[in-house]
């Protein structure tokens, strides 16, 4: 299992955001995480990428206990994931290509050895002519695609995206979605938090599942889309 939650709850003080979540996600699966604003989608994703730890229950990520994990181990597990957030989190003082290559540097790899791969990745997300630009010079969609390229440059097993199409038009959203489905076809486990119904519809015909966050519960829909 890539992810395994057993009776996981998370509270902020007296307020319980997620309660008694039981869930397993198989390798190579694609999931949409839905729910109204404030339902706890982002909180759930933050637990997945270990920015938050459960208040109670057991959470296993890549088979490792993530509940009381050390900071160093958490960083090690994060290197096996790619995370794309709505605001992209690109470093403005670096070029697009440097941003894409950043996880390689973090992993201690020599970026020069991967130059061709990085450029191919840039072309894959449609940014081959914008690789030397700085993030502030890019459109929202371009920034989002750069963030996707950065998230997969180390070929992670799990890709997590939080509202990746929140700031882009429908055409760009479709293009971004196609990148995620392609990643899934390559065997990556993909989790996308969204309340964009069109985005989910565009995944019809793909073996995608819906996880609905409601009243602190994460409910898996019975059937694939």
């Amino acid at each position: 299992m890539v992810i395994e939650f057993n009776g996981v709850s998370l509270s902020y003080g007296d307020r319980t955001v997620l309660r008694d979540v039981n869930l397993t996600l198989d390798p190579g699966s694609l999931h949409f995480l839905t729910g109204r604003s404030g339902a706890g989608k982002t909180t759930f994703l933050k637990m997945l990428y270990l920015a938050l730890r459960p208040t109670t229950g057991e959470m296993r990520i890549f088979g490792r206990d993530g509940s009381g994990i050390e900071r160093r181990e958490a960083a090690e597990l994060r290197r096996r994931m790619g995370v794309v957030l709505q605001d992209c989190d690109l470093l403005d003082h670096m070029s697009v290509i440097e941003n894409i290559a950043l996880p390689l540097r973090v992993s201690g790899l020599k970026v020069a050895d991967f130059d061709t791969d990085i450029r191919e990745l840039g072309a894959w997300v449609g940014l081959s002519k914008r690789l030397d630009a700085r993030p502030p010079e890019l459109s929202s969609g371009e920034r989002q695609r750069a963030a996707i390229a950065r998230s997969v440059v180390t070929s992670p097993e799990l890709v997590i995206a939080d509202e990746p199409t929140g700031n882009v038009d429908s055409q760009t959203a479709e293009r971004i979605m196609s990148l995620f489905t392609e990643l899934n076809r390559l065997g990556k486990t993909v989790i996308i938090a969204t309340h964009d119904m069109n985005l989910m519809r565009s995944a019809q015909g793909i073996d995608a599942h819906v996880l609905r966050v409601e009243n602190g519960q994460v409910i898996r829909s019975g059937a694939a889309l």
Partner: protein, 298 residues
């Protein structure tokens, strides 16, 4: 630190991960320069005091004086008696009576060159040059009492003790001064590093998100601080060193002793040492501050 680490520190090939912080970096360089200047000034002063005290103490301990007072009629016999005892005492190399000219020279700073010292009731002084560990002072005093009543042996201990105490105090003051300047530099760099990390929270968040460990983030931020602290400290050190080299008063006592620069302590080693210490201090301070900030950033 390996050559590779040094090269990565001073000549990184990739774009720095931490955003440029020129203003804070400039402040760090300025503070490092000021702190280095003060540290070098304190060290120079401490070394000069130590050197002078050491020389004086050495000279005083290598010689002694026998002072003879009494009735003028008895003086020749007492002098002969004293010289006789000193000649056969182990640990005494030379013993000689100071001439009138030498006595006049000794009193010149107070009475002037032309003073008629013959009219003054001055004691006769025998200058004793010691050898090896010196004489058995108690035995020598006993022999002088027998052969030259009125002769007083002075081993200069009364002069040496306060001199050594003053030198010790100066050494301690210099050491405390250097320690305080290092602490002040560390504090300043810590505050600057913490401020930079807090203001660069977005960068830290991104780095965490892509799996960077704390030590990777710390390294990304510590490099510019360490380099600026080292460069600033080098400028401050150079300035202080040049000024110290041009102040003759620092070695005034040596000059008076007629042996100025041959024996003055060499302080060239401060030029590489102080910037290195400043850079290392900045590295350590950044690491500690960053560890604190990162621990509280999630």
């Amino acid at each position: 630190m390996t050559f590779r680490a040094l090269r990565a520190l001073f000549a990184p090939t990739d774009t720095p991960i931490a955003p440029r912080a020129d203003f804070i970096g400039g402040l760090i360089a300025l503070v490092a320069a000021a702190m280095a200047f003060l540290a070098v000034a304190a060290t120079e002063a401490g070394l000069a005091a130590d050197h002078i005290a050491g020389r004086w103490s050495g000279e005083l301990s290598a010689s002694a004086t026998v002072r003879i007072t009494g009735e003028a009629a008895n003086l020749p016999a007492t002098i002969d008696g004293a010289l006789g005892v000193l000649e056969v005492t182990p640990g005494v190399a030379v013993a000689r009576v100071l001439s009138d000219d030498e006595n006049r020279a000794l009193l010149a700073p107070w009475l002037g060159e032309e003073a008629d010292i013959a009219a003054l009731p001055l004691p006769v002084l025998i200058d004793v040059t010691l050898s090896g560990a010196g004489p058995d002072v108690e035995e020598l005093k006993r022999q002088l009492a027998l052969s030259a009543p009125g002769a007083i042996y002075d081993d200069h201990g009364e002069w040496r003790a306060p001199l050594l105490a003053a030198a010790d105090a100066l050494r301690i003051a210099a050491g405390v001064g250097v320690a305080l300047t290092i602490a002040a530099l560390a504090a300043m760099v810590s505050v600057a590093a913490a401020a930079t990390l807090w203001s660069g929270a977005g960068v830290v968040r991104t780095l965490h998100l892509i799996g960077a460990e704390d030590r990777f983030i710390v390294r990304a931020f510590e490099r510019p601080f360490a380099i600026r602290a080292a460069l600033g400290a080098f400028c401050g050190t150079l300035l202080a060193w040049l000024i110290a080299a041009r102040i003759p008063q620092l070695h005034a006592v040596d000059v008076m002793a007629g042996s100025a620069s041959q024996t003055a302590p060499s302080t060239w080693w401060l030029l590489p040492a102080v910037p290195l210490v400043a850079g290392a201090t900045a590295l350590l301070a950044t690491r500690l501050a960053a560890a604190f900030v990162l621990k509280h950033s999630e």
